[in-house]
């Protein structure tokens, strides 16, 4: 999947509909996501924002009875095509979850896990990747003396940064973040937000958040979801200063949700 240079849209979603059994969870979503931007998705619980995020790397396919129609074009290829190689897709589209979920292994092994399985065997090369990934998430200084210590011994915020490092180690183009700071204290949250700001130099980031201030702080574009529909999508500054739709306005001013 070579990156196309003609368009800046890395993802182009068209007519996306998704059902969990009878529940129509996503309705006619149209959504372009641009390269090296941070796109935030906000909305009340159950509005479909996480479901949408998990469609971008097809994590949804694990759920029984899920039906997806429409197009999700990644680099010009529709990943909803059944022939899509999930392994290849997920190498390019990494994901960070709500709660830090390091493997019960050492710090080093956690970061080296993806590259190792994707075929990098040389110790020196792995060392480089681990060092660089940990530096990218500003964790290197905190853990460089104990790379062989168990990852579960780290604090919650460190674990989450480790998970981001683990996702970066496979050299993705896109990083999906599903409420990455909802389980963290304010200081750790701030660190992750600063990190997102730096990461967008190199990566495209799509982030789901409950926290509207967070969306306003870190993102370039914001999409507002409600009841499975995407109500509004625009520059973050516009969404938060002069939303076009009254429902968006109600939500961001805290009148519901």
């Amino acid at each position: 999947m070579a990156i196309q240079t003609l368009t800046r849209d890395i993802f182009d979603v068209k007519d996306l509909n998704l059902w969990y059994g009878d529940h129509h969870a996503l309705k006619d979503i149209h959504f372009p996501i641009q390269k090296k931007e941070v796109t935030a998705m906000i909305g009340p619980s159950g509005c479909g924002k996480s479901t949408f995020l998990k469609t971008l790397n097809l994590m949804n396919k694990m759920i029984p009875n899920v039906k997806i129609t429409g197009e999700v074009n990644f680099d010009g290829q529709n990943i909803l095509n059944p022939k899509t190689d999930l392994v290849e897709l997920r190498k390019h589209v990494g994901m960070v979850f709500q709660k830090g979920n390091p493997f019960p292994q050492s710090i080093y092994d956690n970061v080296a896990y993806g590259p190792r399985i994707h075929g990098i065997k040389k110790k020196k090369h792995l060392d480089e990747i681990v060092t660089k990934s940990l530096m990218d998430v500003a964790l290197w200084d905190e853990v460089k003396d104990r790379l062989n210590a168990p990852a579960l011994g780290l604090s919650g915020g460190q674990q989450q940064r480790l998970c981001i490092a683990r996702a970066l180690a496979t050299k993705p183009d896109v990083l999906l973040m599903d409420e990455p700071t909802s389980a963290l204290d304010p200081i750790s949250t701030l660190k992750i937000e600063e990190l997102i700001f730096e990461l967008k130099e190199k990566y495209t980031i799509v982030i789901v958040t409950h926290n509207m201030q967070q969306a306003a702080r870190v993102s370039d574009k914001t999409a507002f979801f409600l009841m499975g529909e995407m109500i509004e999508f625009d520059e973050t500054t516009k969404i938060f200063s002069m939303p076009k739709d009254s429902r968006t306005e109600d939500y961001i001013t805290g009148r519901f949700g």
Binding site: R90, G94, K99, F103, G114, I117, H118, C163, R166
Partner: protein, 295 residues
């Protein structure tokens, strides 16, 4: 009666029940150890059993028990873990899976004497092997496999979903995720389950009566050729285990010291099972500490 009194009463009742359970267990151990310990000596453990004269030991029976257990686990563990992985990770919810699950449950509730009868029919008569260690081990496998499958399935299901998702999201295949993330996380529970199952197998008598037999050939412990008749390692020889020995000396023993031999053997059996249980807990918690880095 007000709710505070009821609460105190409930607490009292539960403490009483717990005390009864502990008392039964303690009494049982006390009885077995008091009667058994005076009969256990190095000589008792290292001399062969006797048919008519007093002073026989349990050397061969002890070895047979351990050896049958070893062979059984060699068959059960891979099959059981494989079955558990299938049930937890691959089986789609539906009629077929329900049928498999029902079969496993029925299998686990079969009386062991029935498994012994089945073993006699298949592993002894149909195959023409006669009473053998291997036949006994296969019967014990039938007895043990459901527990092993169940243990593995439960252990795998207890692995946080997060970990599996994290691995899949890194572009790791399902099988690789099972191999490198799920199984290592589930390992302590699987190991504990396997050791507990081993304890159960170690004390099993009924399933072995008609499969491994009630006798042991004269064994030569210097003969390590597994195909030789006298070799203890031969898996196609009859082998009386400790539990079967206790049964047989009590029902058809001609020796004058039946009481001493059976209580000594019983104590050895109980101590072994106790060791299995303690080892399971100790090893399980040790591995758990190591992987989770908790103190």
């Amino acid at each position: 009666m007000n709710s505070k009194t009821a609460d105190r009463l409930a607490t009292g009742v539960f403490i009483l029940i717990a005390t009864i359970i502990v008392a039964i267990l303690a009494g049982l151990f006390f009885y077995i150890f008091i009667n058994g310990f005076k009969n256990i000596s190095l000589e008792f453990l290292t001399s062969p059993s006797s048919n008519v004269r007093a002073g026989g030991g349990i050397r061969d029976q002890l070895f047979n028990s351990v050896y049958i257990l070893f062979i059984t686990m060699l068959i059960t563990v891979p099959l059981g873990i494989g079955g558990g992985i299938y049930m937890a990770e691959y089986a789609r919810p539906g009629k077929v899976t329900d049928l498999i699950r029902t079969c496993i449950e029925v299998l686990s509730s079969l009386p062991s004497i029935v498994i012994g009868m089945f073993g006699l029919l298949v592993f002894v008569n149909t195959t023409g092997w006669g009473y053998t260690i291997f036949g006994g081990a296969l019967a014990l496998t039938i007895f043990n496999l459901p527990t092993m499958v169940r243990t593995t399935e439960d252990a795998i299901r207890a692995v946080p979903r997060d970990l599996k998702e994290a691995s899949l999201a890194l572009g790791i295949t399902h099988w690789h995720t099972i191999k490198t993330v799920i199984l290592p996380s589930a390992f302590p529970s699987i190991l504990t389950g396997a050791i507990l199952a081993a304890g159960r197998v170690f004390g099993e008598a009924a399933a072995l009566l008609f499969t491994a037999g009630l006798s042991t050939p004269r064994l030569d412990y210097t003969n390590w050729n597994p195909f030789s008749e006298q070799s203890p390692l031969n898996i196609f020889r009859p082998a009386e285990t400790l539990a079967v020995h206790i049964w047989s000396v009590n029902t058809q023993g001609l020796i004058p010291d039946v009481e001493e031999v059976s209580s000594g053997a019983a104590a050895v059996l109980v101590i072994s099972v106790l060791i299995f249980n303690l080892a399971a807990r100790w090893i399980g918690s040790m591995i758990h500490k190591r992987v989770t880095a908790s103190k």
